[in-house]
Amino acid sequence: MRRSVFYDFIKGFIEENPTFRLVIGMCPTLAVTTSVVNGFWMGVSVIFVLVFANVFVSLLRKVTPDEIRLPVFVILIATPVVIVELVMRAYLPAMYEILGIFVPLIVVNCIIIARAEAFAFKQPVLNSFADGLGIGAGYTLNLILISGIREFLGTGQITVGSFRFPAAPFFEPAAVMLTPPGGFICLGLLMAVLNVLLARRERKAKAQAV
């Protein structure tokens, strides 16, 4: 079966959702999701790196010997990360400070090397591009979802620039949501709920098939 480019794009949202299905790239998913804005910029950085790395890995897949593919991947990933670092430091210095070491750490984000190894190294350029874009966008949505929950419960409102929703918190914010324990438990529960829902859906599908 020939893979359609559109499928390779769309699968990153549900079927191969990096956080909830593939369960990779945990560290930044937790570290930067204390506010929606942070989550968004982290997501954008990952999209850029992922697309860049996927495209170049795919372009070079025929000339790269299997034995040295990992070092090649690392270089092809580190390059766009450095670009992101420099651009962000120049134009979004405040965000660069907040995201801290997690910008250079995109280099070791398992999502990217996993996509290079499992997908881009075997697939044509266009599909790899779509895959990077889709997985990256799925990842960004996850980050926004998790950071939305954490920011809302942890500060009582969601702040994007000068926009605040709701205008004033209507409950006493639980500071724990912004701390590591809150992050772990929040993501764990989110995954638990999704697992249960998916298991139920699969059971239903099976029942219908019979």
């Binding site: 500071a175 724990v176 701390t179 809150g182």
Partner: protein, 327 residues
């Protein structure tokens, strides 16, 4: 055959006692402390306890119904969690806090892992730690000055531990007030006598192992005596240190939790000593005035490791014979 070396996780009992009977003993043993808290902090204390217990029981029932498991609210374990969490709250907290804390304790710390016996931290303490991280100001400032039957002063009052640490001014209460419970603190931790009555009852009924509370309190006594006074050794106010904070409550009722403490005698002594050492570390040099609940939680985490290290030596160990040979 390594499976033989694995000691099955608690709870397991040698006696023919059933889980509810055992848990009922603990509930009974907590009653003196419950009464004392109502005596000293009035109706507010009762409201917190009732909220916490009902939230715990309801959470347990609702969760077990939702996942279609047998509903176990009749084994009293949720009741105990509810009471213990309430005992660990300052008397001035708003009522939604014990409600959320109990729900967290039951659902997240216990039921998600499969219910009683599968949790690896004490649920009540996990609930307390969660509340502490979520609303730290309530948990560290909502103290009330004690007064007999509701004559509670609404003004915030310094706990003896905060005074000991130099975090807030004020005088230390007298020894008798400390023993009776006539001092600021969490609901159930203030009255040493009431806790001791319950604790001794539990030891007499062989529900808890005295090694844990004795090791715990003894370690705190020795270490605060040695290091308690900055810049000088062997001059610490050890008596006040062991009487203040949640030490007795934690040592008798929470560090001894079957599910989350080691199964062997030696392991239990280790548990007590470890709790004591971490408590002193946090009390004297840490960021919080009180370290009892964190110390127990941390020792809960290493309980499986303690069981692994201590237990295998008992494999093939014939009574006291080897000990004598070693001597």
């Amino acid at each position: 055959m390594t499976e033989r070396l694995v000691v099955s996780p608690s709870p397991h009992w040698k006696t023919g006692k059933t889980v509810p009977a055992l848990m009922l003993d603990v509930v009974m043993a907590l009653m003196p402390a419950v009464v004392a808290s109502v005596v000293f902090f009035g109706w507010k204390a009762l409201a917190i306890i009732l909220t916490s217990v009902s939230s715990a029981v309801i959470s347990e029932a609702v969760y077990e119904k939702a996942v279609k498991r047998e509903v176990t609210i009749k084994d009293y374990s949720a009741v105990i969690t509810g009471i213990l969490l309430a005992m660990n709250m300052p008397p001035g907290v708003p009522l939604w806090m014990p409600a959320i804390g109990s729900a967290f304790a039951i659902v997240i710390a216990k039921q998600l892992f499969g219910g009683l016996g599968c949790n690896f931290v004490n649920p009540a303490l996990a609930g307390r730690a969660f509340l502490m991280a979520a609303w730290p100001l309530h948990m560290t400032r909502d103290w009330l000055a004690p007064g007999f039957f509701g004559g509670v002063d609404a003004a915030a009052s310094a706990t003896p531990l905060a005074v000991l640490k130099g975090a807030s001014g004020g005088a230390l209460p007298g020894i008798w007030d400390m023993l009776l419970g006539n001092r600021a603190g969490c609901l159930g931790e203030t009255s040493i006598i009431a806790i001791l009555i319950g604790g001794i009852y539990l030891i007499w009924k062989e529900v808890i192992d005295p090694r844990i509370p004795l090791g715990f309190i003894g370690t705190v006594f020795v270490l605060t005596w040695v290091f308690g006074k900055p810049g000088a050794f062997f001059q610490g106010n050890a008596v006040y240190h062991i009487l203040s904070g949640g030490l007795f409550l934690g040592a008798f009722f929470m560090a001894t939790d079957y599910v989350t403490s080691p199964v062997t005698a030696k392991g239990r002594l280790l548990m007590g000593i470890g709790c004591g050492a971490i408590t002193v570390l946090i009390r004297l040099w840490g960021g919080y005035p009180e370290g009892v609940s964190y110390s127990i939680l941390l020792m809960n985490l290493v309980t499986p490791l303690i069981d692994r290290v201590v237990v295998p030596r008992y494999y093939g160990w014939k009574g006291e014979a080897r000990k004598e040979k070693a001597l």
